[in-house]
């Protein structure tokens, strides 16, 4: 057995000898022995520091609120993958990888806040003034304001305002919470003035604000949220694996299943004859010249 490094790399995160594993200078075993929590360790991992009690509580709350969300793209991804019965990690990995520009875009929300807070500092504007500028610039350009609106919780995301309140209760509201609150105020005011419906803050808008105020970068915050969701998606996948039918196509189930043949609706080119090989070149040339295929190009 070789214990040589697989990749020769310098790292500032950790080292591991035959004696111990050291994270940012702290012996991992010692951290656990002292009674620090997993959330504490996440602060050490991403921020190289032990958090305050309140900060640890906030992370614990945020991750608890974010972990389970029933049928979101992440759970659907996990269930879809597990119907083929690969190893469970494939389904879990797929669920984590559903997080992108629309589903739980935590990093994008953080980058947006950082960009405008930096502008406030550079242009000598208050956070309130800059929040209004953000809202106006996004809405004028028909660009979605990250952290606002949730397609299923149309009255407002049930996790969002409680996260804000928890942050206030724990007295760890900083620049980010002040900015996010101002953003929401101007966002609601503008939509109301335009006679548009109420769109509440979502769990990314609230949760990511809290994560930023307790010192996590946009990408670190995104990692915390999306990987945490992997836990619950593993449960969804496991439920489907142990109690559901592989494929999800059985005709013997009382309910129409996910990939029952009757679920397929086809809207592509009409059925057509396959040309013989000796007709092929002329057929293909004509097809290309006519260009009808272009409407189906993806």
């Amino acid at each position: 057995m070789s214990r040589e490094p697989l990749l020769p790399r310098k790292t500032a995160i950790s080292y591991k000898t035959e004696e111990k594993t050291v994270l940012r200078g702290y012996d991992l075993s010692e951290l656990a022995e002292q009674g620090y929590s997993f959330c504490d360790a996440l602060f050490v991992l991403f921020q190289d520091r032990i958090p305050t009690d309140s900060e640890e509580k906030m992370l614990k709350y945020e991750m608890g609120a974010f972990m389970e969300h029933s049928m979101s793209p992440s759970a659907v991804g996990a269930i879809g993958v597990i119907t083929g019965r690969p190893n469970l990690p494939c389904a879990v990995a797929a669920s984590i990888m559903t997080f992108g520009g629309v589903h739980g875009p935590g990093a994008a929300h953080g980058y947006m806040m950082n960009q405008y807070i930096e502008r406030a500092e550079a242009e000598g504007k208050s956070l309130d003034e800059m929040a209004k500028i953000l809202v106006d610039e996004h809405l004028d350009n028909k660009v979605p304001v990250m952290g606002m609106g949730q397609p299923q919780h149309t009255d407002s995301d049930p996790r969002a305002e409680p996260i804000h309140c928890k942050q206030e209760e724990l007295e760890i509201g900083g620049v980010y919470l002040e900015f996010q609150r101002a953003l929401e105020k101007h966002f609601h005011a503008r939509r109301k003035a335009e006679g548009r419906s109420y769109v509440g803050v979502n769990v990314v808008g609230a949760g990511n604000t809290a994560l930023c105020d307790i010192g996590f970068s946009p990408n670190a915050a995104w990692c915390l949220g999306s990987v945490c969701r992997g836990f619950s998606c593993a449960a969804h996948a496991l439920y489907s694996m142990k109690k559901g039918r592989a494929w999800g196509a059985s005709r013997r189930e009382p309910m129409v299943q996910m990939i029952d043949l009757s679920m397929i609706k086809y809207v592509g080119p009409p059925d057509r004859r396959v040309p013989k090989q000796d007709e092929r070149q002329e057929y293909a040339r004509k097809q290309k010249e006519e260009g009808e295929y272009k409407q189906w190009l993806i």
Partner: protein
């Protein structure tokens, strides 16, 4: 359900700032909406019934019976058309060159997964994941090309457009021109093959101008690389940047499968806790005692800042910590052109 009625007094949930009364939130799932058509998998690509599988209108069994193969099927699935013989030959050529790249990232990913003793499919999947916006950057490359070529469609000069593209993108990971293939003729031979087969079009022509402009602008020798040659040729074959990205990532995954197999055949599995990271590769904080948890308040420094100036100072400081994420900005965008399938489905009543 009566005992579920009074839900006051839970944490902050009675806070007046809540957008609605949390104590009165309903239980239970949402009833089935029988006003709308039931869920369907809507597709333009393919359908199947008990006896047929039909892709873009062609019965796939009849296609293969008639001698069409997987390379032809790529045109059918992604472009809804059968390729010319020359186009099929060209895509074959590209796929052969894309199959293997030695111990580069997809193979390394595959081998790393293999060492954990798992299915081959996981290793192949990991190899697909290694195609990004630097390695195998076909999406970034193609969209860059198309962005500039859309101006050519409005009459702009190709040479001038190429110079503008190079001025903006020289040194970028996705330019398709670099010093990677100064001694390897494969990229140039691919372009020559496309020209010989008569499938070279505006993308290859534009790429020729880009290479010339890059050679002029660069202070070191550069030439077309495989990204540039494959990307431009694939687009001349009619594939979109995203289709190109996916097709070639999957193509390489076959090679990655072989690397998985060889790794399992020739090497040992790696176990949790086995791999060491010597201290001389570590440049983080020096070893330090874990403070007693009772002294947390004495050691902990809160992260909150309360003015933008404080925030800026803290942010710049945090950038210095490797692994914190503050020093990088990742582009996370919604690539979809539209959402929803409003053109299908109908009310049941």
């Amino acid at each position: 359900m009566a005992d579920l009625g009074d839900k006051k007094g839970i944490g902050n949930l009675d806070d007046p700032k809540m957008p609605y009364d949390y104590s009165q939130r309903e239980y239970g799932t949402v009833e089935t909406d029988d006003e709308r058509a039931r869920f369907q998998w809507v597709s333009e690509v393919a359908y199947k019934n008990v006896h047929r599988i039909v892709a873009r209108g062609y019965d796939t069994t009849e296609l293969v019976e008639e001698g069409y193969g997987v390379v032809d099927l790529l045109f059918v699935d992604f472009q809804a058309r059968l390729p010319l013989i020359e186009e099929e030959k060209m895509l074959n050529y590209i796929m052969i060159l894309s199959l293997e790249d030695g111990l580069s990232i997809p193979a390394v990913m595959s081998r790393m997964v293999a060492r954990t003793k798992t299915f081959l499919t996981q290793a192949c999947g990991a190899a697909v994941l290694s195609f990004g916006h630097a390695y195998g950057a076909y999406s970034s490359f193609g969209n860059m090309l198309d962005g500039y070529l859309s101006e050519a469609d409005q009459g702009a000069d190709l040479k001038a457009l190429a110079e503008a593209l190079v001025a903006e993108n020289l040194g970028c990971d996705h330019l398709g021109v670099s010093d990677l293939m100064l001694k390897d003729p494969a990229a140039k031979r691919m372009v020559a093959r496309a020209e010989k087969l008569g499938v070279a079009g505006k993308h290859i022509e534009f790429m020729t101008h880009i290479v010339a402009a890059a050679k002029k602008a660069s202070d070191k020798p550069v030439d077309i690389d495989l990204l540039g040659a494959i990307g431009a040729t694939m687009m001349d074959l009619g594939f979109t940047p995203e289709a190109t990205w996916a097709i070639l990532a999957v193509t390489r995954s076959f090679g990655a499968g072989a690397h998985y197999i060889e790794e399992v055949e020739r090497e040992e599995y790696t176990h949790l806790g086995e791999t060491l990271t010597p201290k001389d590769t570590y440049d983080g904080p020096a070893d330090r005692p874990v403070p007693p948890i009772g002294e947390r308040d004495k050691h902990a420094r809160p992260a909150q800042t309360f003015t933008t100036t404080e925030w800026k100072k803290a942010f710049d400081q945090r950038k210095k910590l490797h692994g914190s994420g503050f020093a990088i900005i990742e582009e996370v965008e919604d690539p979809s052109k539209m959402t929803g399938t409003k053109s299908v489905g109908k009310k049941l009543h």
